[in-house]
Structure formats: C-alpha cells, structure tokens
C-alpha cells in the first residue's frame, strides 16, 4: 500500500467530564495525500475539530485524553511523540499548520501581525531577522495583502475579518508546511469573503502541492472545493468517498438526509426540505450502537441489536458504516412533491418608504457632530398580506437596523413606515403597545433571547397575559398548550427552563412566543443561522407550515441566499444600507440584474460538484467597506466590474425592469439600460 502523507487509524479521544465520559472521537480513520483537498463534514459537536486537534496533541489534557489509535505522518506516529516535546513542536506549525475558525480571536491582539508571522518563520526555518522579514513580505503577497511593508507593523484590530484570515493563512504557510488544516476557516466570514479565502487556499494547494483538509459543516463549500470527503456524525466517520460519489450516490442515511435537508440555489422550490427528525446525538450518550439509530428512517432489527457498524467498502474510494449497506435512496419517495400552492396575496400590509436611519458620530471634547453613519439610506419596499419577503445582504448592510425600525425600537431619521396604511414611525409610546401584538419577531440567537429564569410556559404565555388576550386560567393553559403543539414541542415540557432545551427547541419556543398574540406580521432575523444544518430544515418547514395555517406575513432576514430563495415569494437585496435589487424569487437566480446580486449568487456554492464544475463565476474583488467609508455615487462602485465614471458621481435609483423586478444600477449587464 502506498504511503499516505497523513494516515490516521482508529483514533479515539475522550473527555472526562463531571457528568460522563464523552467519546468525542470514536474510532476515526482517514488519510490525506500530498496535493489533495480532503474535507471533513459534520454538524456541531460531531468531533471534527477534536480529531484534528488530537493529531497534533492540541486538545486540552486533562480533561481530554487520546485513548487509542495512530496518526502516521510521513511514516512517523505523531501520537507516540512526547507531548510538548521538541519533535512534536517541529511538526506543529512546521509540517502541519492549522487555520482556525474565528479570525477575530485567533490572532494575538497585542502583537503586530509582522511579529506573529515572523515568529513562525524564525522558529521553523531558522531565519535571521532580516530574512524573516523578507519571507513575511513574500507571504503577505502570497495571500493577497497589498502594502506588505506597512502592514507588517499593523495590529490585528486594524484588519477586517477577511484580512485577518489571510494573515492566519500567511502564518500557517510560513514554514511551507506539507499539510494545511482549515478548521471552519471561513464560517465566520461574509459569503463573498468566504469565496475569496477558499479560492486562495485552493490556489495555494495548486501552487505549492500542500495537502489541505477543510473542516466544515457546510456541504455546499465541500462540493465546490473538495476532492474527497469524510462525513462525521457523533464522533464516528459514517461515510467516505470522492466528492462526486458522495453527492451523486450518498450511501449513509445521514448523508442522504443532509443533502435533502438543505435548500439549493438551483433547486426546485416545490421540493420540500426533508428534515432529519430529532436532535444530533450527544456523544456523551453513545451506547455502542449505530449513533444515528434514534433518527434513522431505515433502522431495522439488525441496527438495534448489533454494535456500531464497521466501515464497509462500496468501491475503491467509497465506504459507508451502516448495517443496511447503502439503503435504497428513499428520500424522493418520502417527500410528497406537492405543487407549491398558489398563494393568495392580500393588500399591502407593510410599506417602507424612503426610510433613512443615520447614526451621528461625535468627536472631540465638544462632541461636535462630524459625520453620519448611514445605516439605512433610502430604503423602499413593501410586503403584502400573506407574503414572505426575504431580505439578504452581507454583514453590516442594515438588515437588523431595518427590523428594529419596523418594530419601532428606535426612531428613524427620515421616511415613513406604513402598517395597514398607518404611519407607525410617528406614534406615541402608548400607541405602539397595541402594535406590538400585530408585529412580532424571532431572533437569531436561540440561547440569548429567552429569559433564562422563566419557565418555557411563561415565556410563551407572557404575551397573552400582558395583552390580556385570555380571560381565564383555563383559557390561558389551553392557549399555551396549543402554541406548544403548533411549534412541535411537547406541552408537557412547559415547566422546564430554557437551558434544558436544545437550540432547535429553543428556536421553536421563540416562534411560539412570537405567535402567541396572533400577529399579522412576523419579522424573522436570521432565525436559523445559529442552528445545526439538520435542524434548520425543521424550522424552515415549521415556518412555512405556520404561514399556511395562519396566513402570516413574514419578513425573513438572512444572509444565506439559498434559504431565502426557498422560503420567499420576493427577495430584497441590500448592500451598505441601500436596496440594490428587488426580485420575485424565480427570477433571482435565473436573471439577477444587479452586479452585486450576481456576485453574491456566484459566491454561493451549490451542493453538487457536477453543477459546480459547469458554473460560471462572476469576478469579484475586495470586501464590504465599512459604513464609514461609504463610496460616493453607487455604493458598490469600488468593487463593481462594470462601473463607469457616472457610477462614482451619481446614485442610481431603484427602477422597475419589468415584471416587478427592480434594480438600482446604471449599467445592468446585458440589460436594457
């Protein structure tokens, strides 16, 4: 057998916690060859990070302990090396480098980036100061940071998230490692920045022949970049194979489930998302049987009686750990392909007209106003009763500011917001109260948004009491139980505290709370982005079902365009406080008009390597500028490939391009203008 660059065999890592022994990594095997991009996919807590950290003995010991296995790197077993010893340290950062998830916290804030890069260089290459500096400059160039000379003296705070991640990559590449491990390296970044960083990593692999392991929960990312894939679930590798095999003929029920649970940008909207029911298994609760058993549709007698299924080969590269071999793909049959019901839309419920929200900036001792941060600049669109409008944009584009304005949580600077024809921005405090019943909201963070000291029942029922919507104790109990049922949480759990629920359940409680007052409009601010992939589909399906039953109107805010497309009737795209495009959902993917929308769409990978190969990609440069240095004229002009002189001078208005499809651009590519 040919020797692999890194070959991990039967790795086992446990954590001794007070409550239980957590088998975080349970008999995991994988390998990587030089110049290969391998991806490890799995949900939060599935043991992806711990596997990698274990290989380098970087897990915290105690409570962690590596209880078995081998990690052969160039023939040498890394797990046999002395912890903290010279030899191990030469491998760490020298031959194997890691890039971590949080670019904001992974660099030392009190040392210059130059220091931090040069430290790696001198440590592993034994360079002197001058040579190290030269090498650091070379590295900055490699990762696409201009003005290296000057930037070396910068501190991490002076860089944006994307730039910091580039610095991390420069640091990781300092010693020309044989293997680069990127642990959720782009998860915290904006969609367009994520694309740039991953492209950069792939270019590095091609240029230098370094092997790359991408750890991620995002299947779509994998489809675009990986050669081979390992799928992890609750500490086990459940399936392995090439990207093509994995996406065209997924074998493990979990892999199949995941692929059916995520909406695709190019997907058929009538395809219902098939959620994987239940929660990911907590590795502390493993019982030696197949970890997917409690959620598996195909589970049979054998699965209940036999121990953990071993990895069986299906082909030279494809393998699955399942007693049923590769169960016949049942997903298609299971999801009844209901034609999307024609929605009956009512009158305009909410209309947002030329809304501006400026935050003044004061400077100096006299607190003189020096500028405005234009968080919202001339935002106009409307929602009709029963409609779902998706609002997308990268971080800082003003999505949450807009949500707050609609909820009357702050005053707007200019413009009007009409709810059922009434301007709600000029209401008195006591007139806002009844409005709160009609407009409700669901937050992003299911952990922070529920009061930790209240029981689930009183969190959901509070609104009923406050607004006197029930007249008796019995009615209150009945309504709360009904709300619990509506969102799929057992009403018997109403006396539990929020921390006793999982993230998905909490989000359901958040939805129940929002529904308590029978609102007309529900504003969902990134309601699923904090949840696991397999849970996201459950929540989306729930929201769609509730809309059908109750005729709700949604403003659905998210940064994930594929999810937005799936749930929305119309989509509003924002960039730096301005609406750049409003489009019916079908046209958004087929005929995006604004250059930004095009770039955004092309940055989003589609979970299918075949499609990915055929897809053209829009060139795209730079990162979202800060609101403080907002470009003049068209806000997008400094990143736009089509810009002309006029774009720097004039602000394009949102104009109808036919069929209710609006865009704000002077030069709609290939378009009429």
């Amino acid at each position: 057998m040919a020797e692999h660059l890194l070959q991990v065999d039967h790795l086992q890592t446990v954590f001794h916690t007070r409550e239980a022994l957590v088998r975080a990594v349970d008999d995991v095997s994988f390998y990587v060859d030089a110049g290969e991009i391998v991806s490890i996919v799995g949900e939060s807590g599935s043991g992806k990070s711990v596997s990698m950290l274990s290989v380098l003995q970087l897990i915290q010991m105690p409570p962690g302990e590596i209880t078995g296995g081998k990690a052969l790197f160039e023939g040498q077993d890394l797990l046999a090396l002395k912890p903290g010893g010279e030899e191990l340290r030469r491998v760490r950062g020298g031959k194997i480098s890691m890039i971590f998830q949080e670019p904001m916290t992974s660099l030392n804030p009190v040392l210059t980036v130059g220091d931090q890069i040069m430290e790696s260089v001198t440590l592993h290459l034994g360079y002197g100061k001058k040579e190290a500096r030269a090498r650091a400059l070379e590295l900055l160039e490699l990762v696409g940071i201009p003005d290296g000379e000057e930037r070396l003296g910068y501190y991490p705070v002076q860089f944006s998230g994307g730039m910091r991640q580039r610095v991390m990559i420069a640091m990781a590449m300092a010693s020309s490692p044989k293997l680069l491990i990127a642990d959720e390296a782009t998860t915290a970044l904006d969609v367009t920045t994520q694309e740039q960083i991953l492209d950069l990593l792939r270019d590095i692999v091609r240029k230098t022949g370094t092997a790359l392991i991408i750890i991620t929960h995002n299947l779509s990312v994998v489809a675009r970049y990986a050669d081979r894939i390992y799928v992890m679930y609750a500490g086990n590798v459940v399936e392995r194979g090439t990207a093509a095999e994995m996406f065209s003929s997924p074998a493990h029920p979990y892999t199949q489930g995941l692929l059916q649970a995520i909406p695709r940008l190019d997907g058929d909207k009538s395809r219902p998302l098939i959620a994987i029911e239940g929660m990911p298994l907590n590795p502390a609760k493993k019982d030696g049987r197949c970890p997917f058993l409690p959620r598996c549709r195909f589970a049979g007698e054998a699965c209940r009686e036999k121990p953990m299924p071993p990895m069986e080969d299906l082909g030279p590269s494809h393998g699955v750990a399942c007693w049923q071999g590769a169960p016949e793909k049942g997903g298609e049959a299971l999801g009844e392909r209901a034609a999307p019901a024609r929605k009956e839309l009512g009158d305009v419920l909410l209309s947002i007209n030329r809304v501006k929200k400026f935050y003044p900036i004061y400077k100096g001792v006299l607190r003189r106003k020096v500028a405005d941060v234009k968080a919202l600049d001339d935002v106009t669109f409307s929602l009709r009763a029963g409609e779902t409008v998706g609002l997308v944009g990268e971080s800082g584009c003003g999505k949450t500011t807009l949500a707050k304005s609609i909820l009357c949580l702050h005053d707007i600077t200019e413009g009007e917001i009409l709810f059922e024809g009434r301007d709600i921005t000029k209401l008195k405090k006591n007139a806002i109260r009844p409005l709160r019943r009609d407009i409700q909201f669901i937050f992003q963070d299911p952990y922070g948004s529920l009061d930790p000291r209240q029981t689930a029942g009183s969190i959901v029922g509070e609104v009923l009491k406050v607004n006197r919507l029930v007249s008796s104790k019995e009615e209150y109990d009945r309504r709360v139980a009904e709300l619990f049922q509506a969102v799929g949480v057992d009403p018997a759990l109403r006396d539990r505290m929020p921390h006793e629920f999982s993230g998905g359940q909490r989000q359901r409680l958040g939805i129940a709370r929002a529904l308590a007052s029978n609102p007309k409009l529900v504003i969902c601010d990134e309601p699923i982005s904090a949840l696991d992939v397999s849970i996201q589909a459950q929540i989306i399906n729930l929201l769609i079902k509730l809309q059908k039953e109750r005729g709700l109107t949604y403003l659905f805010i998210a940064h994930d365009l594929s999810v937005v497309r799936h749930i929305s009737d119309r989509v509003v795209v924002m960039y730096l406080g301005r609406v750049v495009e409003v489009s019916p959902w079908q046209e958004l993917y087929e005929k995006p008009l604004h250059p930004y929308t095009r770039a955004l769409l092309s940055a989003i990978p589609i979970p299918d390597p075949e499609v990915e190969k055929r897809r053209g990609r829009a060139a795209f440069q730079g990162e979202v500028p800060s609101l403080l240095n907002r470009p003049s004229g068209c806000v997008f002009h400094n990143r736009c490939p089509y810009k002309s002189e006029r774009c720097e001078r004039d602000v394009p208005e949102l104009t109808d391009q036919g069929g209710g499809h609006l865009a704000a651009c002077f030069h709609i590519p290939g378009g009429a203008l």
């Binding site: 903290g84 950062g93 916290t105 992974s106 440590l123 640091m171």
Partner: protein
C-alpha cells in the same frame, strides 16, 4: 497615541485642580477663627491680628486661593505650627523615605504577584496552585498593623536578626538599610502581592483559554514562549488597572507601617499633623500625595496604551 496622552495629562491637571480646591476649602471649614483654631486661645490679640494678616485671611476667597496655589508652586507650602518649621522643609525631609518604601514595595508586589499568578495559572489544580492560593487569601486578610508587630516580635525581639525600627537610605549605609527595610516592605507589599497574584491568576486563566493561545501552540512554539510572550502580555492589561487601585492602599499602608517601625516619613507625618490639628501641614500632605497618585495614574494609563494597541490606535 499623543492625542491620548495629551488628553490624559489634561485630565490629570483637572483632577489636581479640583483636589486643590477641596484641600483649600478644608481650611475654610474649620469651625471658629482659623488662627485660634491653629494656634490655640492663649495667644495675644496682636499676635492673632498679625498672623491673620500674614495668612491673608482678610482678602476675598478666590484671591486667597490664588495666592495659596502660587505659593505652593514656588515651594512655599505654609508653616507648620506644631513643628515650628516651614512645611517645605518637613516634606523635603520626609517624602523621600516614603517614596522609597512605596516604590520598592510596589515593585515587589507587582513582580512577585505576577510571577505567583502566572505560575498558579499554569499549574492550575496542582498543589502549588492550592498552597499559593491559600497563602494569598491569608495575605489579603492580614491587618498590616498586626503583621508589623508580629514581625518585630519574632525577628527583632526574639531572634534579634533585624532592627525593630529606624530608616536609612541604601546609599547611606547599605547593609543597615536592607535590614531596616525588609520588614516594612513585607508589611506594605503583602496585600499587593496577594491581590496581584489573584488578579494575574484569573486573567491568565482567561487568556490561556483564548483562541490566539491555541494558535500560538499550533505554531509549534515552546510552552514557555506561549506563556511569557503570548499570554502574559494580554493578561497584564487588567493588572495595570489594579496598579492604580493598589497605589492608594500602599499610601494608606505607609501611614501604619511608618508608625509601627518608627520611620520618619510622610505617613507618620500625616498621622501626627492630623492629631495635632496642624492644618497647613495637612493641606500640604494631602495635596502632595494626591499629586503623586495622579502622576502614577498617568503613568499607568500610558503603560496601558503601550501594552494594548487597541487603545493606542483609537
């Protein structure tokens, strides 16, 4: 950076101005005639009037204040009636000893505290951690006065190793100076060592969990470099804040320690002048000590900006 320092200096002068107004008002608040209050009732009327004029008590208040500040800046800090000497002479004789002890014990506190804190954090959960933690808890709870007496009892009276009182500077008599300063410095720094240890330990534990420490380890740095270069500099940021707080305690401690060990410093001077109602002396002492504290705080702020680029770059 310069803007930041400039702003801090301005703030310091503002603080000093307010303190000086307050200290000046102190004299105004004494009930009855200030001259009698200071010199006692037995003096003659002529003497009273003369002193009254000398002290410019017949002028309007703002003018009195202006003259007082002007005098102060020119080194005329008033006259101490209990010592029958110009205040300036007294202060010049006593301030150096206190400053010497204060600076020395501050250095000892920071050095030992940070060292102990870092070690206990790294060796968390081991016996070293437990022992040091217990000791520092005791240190925090020990009254200085009691500790001073205990030390004198053991090391001077019983064992006869160290002199029980007195103070000379090391450049006057090095070995005597060392012997004389050991016990006062222990007393003055024990609380500081304990609180720096605790603060360093907890901020180190916080820092060690941070992502950038994991990054440093994954680079293959030796553990020592990870701790001393990457962790400690970050952990020091909250400790700087503590320095400003501890300074006040050190000055308060000086008053007790100088009395116990019979050292002629500012602390003992203050205690004496307060008991003797020597108000001009009290005024001068408070103002001087406030000035010293303000300057130290300024230095801490500058150090802050030096350590933390997030402040410097604002």
């Amino acid at each position: 950076m310069y803007k930041y320092i400039g702003k801090r200096i301005l703030q310091m002068f503002l603080a000093l101005f307010l303190i000086s107004v307050f200290v000046f008002a102190l004299l105004q608040m004494i009930p009855g005639d200030p001259v009698y209050a200071m010199l006692g009732d037995e003096i003659s009327i002529e003497r009273h009037d003369q002193v009254y004029k000398e002290m410019r008590l017949d002028r309007p208040l703002p003018e009195q204040y202006a003259m007082w500040v002007k005098g102060f800046l020119q080194g005329n800090m008033g006259y101490s009636f209990s010592y029958r000497k110009p205040v300036v002479e007294l202060v010049a004789a006593r301030l150096p000893a206190t400053m010497y002890l204060g600076v020395l014990s501050s250095l000892v506190s920071v050095a030992l505290g940070v060292l102990f804190g870092a070690v206990t954090a790294v060796k968390r959960g081991t016996w070293i951690d437990n022992v040091v933690t217990v000791i520092s808890n005791i240190g925090l709870a020990t009254p200085i006065f009691w500790l001073g007496i205990l030390l004198v009892l053991v090391f001077s009276l019983k064992l006869g190793w160290l002199p029980s009182n007195g103070f000379v500077f090391p450049w006057e008599d090095f070995s005597l100076s060392v012997k004389q300063t050991i016990m006062p410095v222990i007393c003055m720094s024990i609380g500081g060592v304990a609180s720096y240890t605790r603060q360093t330990r907890s901020s180190m534990l916080e820092v060690i969990r941070q992502d950038y420490i994991r990054t440093a380890r994954s680079k293959g740095l030796p553990e020592g470099r990870v701790i001393w270069k990457h962790a400690l500099k970050n952990a020091l940021i909250p400790i700087l804040t503590l320095i400003a707080v501890t300074l006040r305690n050190t000055i308060a401690g000086a008053a007790v320690v100088e009395n116990v060990f019979n050292i002629n410093g500012m602390g003992s001077l203050m205690v004496q002048c307060i008991t003797k109602r020597d108000f001009q002396l009290v005024q001068a002492c408070i103002l001087l000590l406030s000035a010293v504290t303000c300057v130290c705080n300024l230095l801490v702020d500058i150090a802050y900006a030096y350590v933390d680029p997030r402040i410097r770059l604002k």
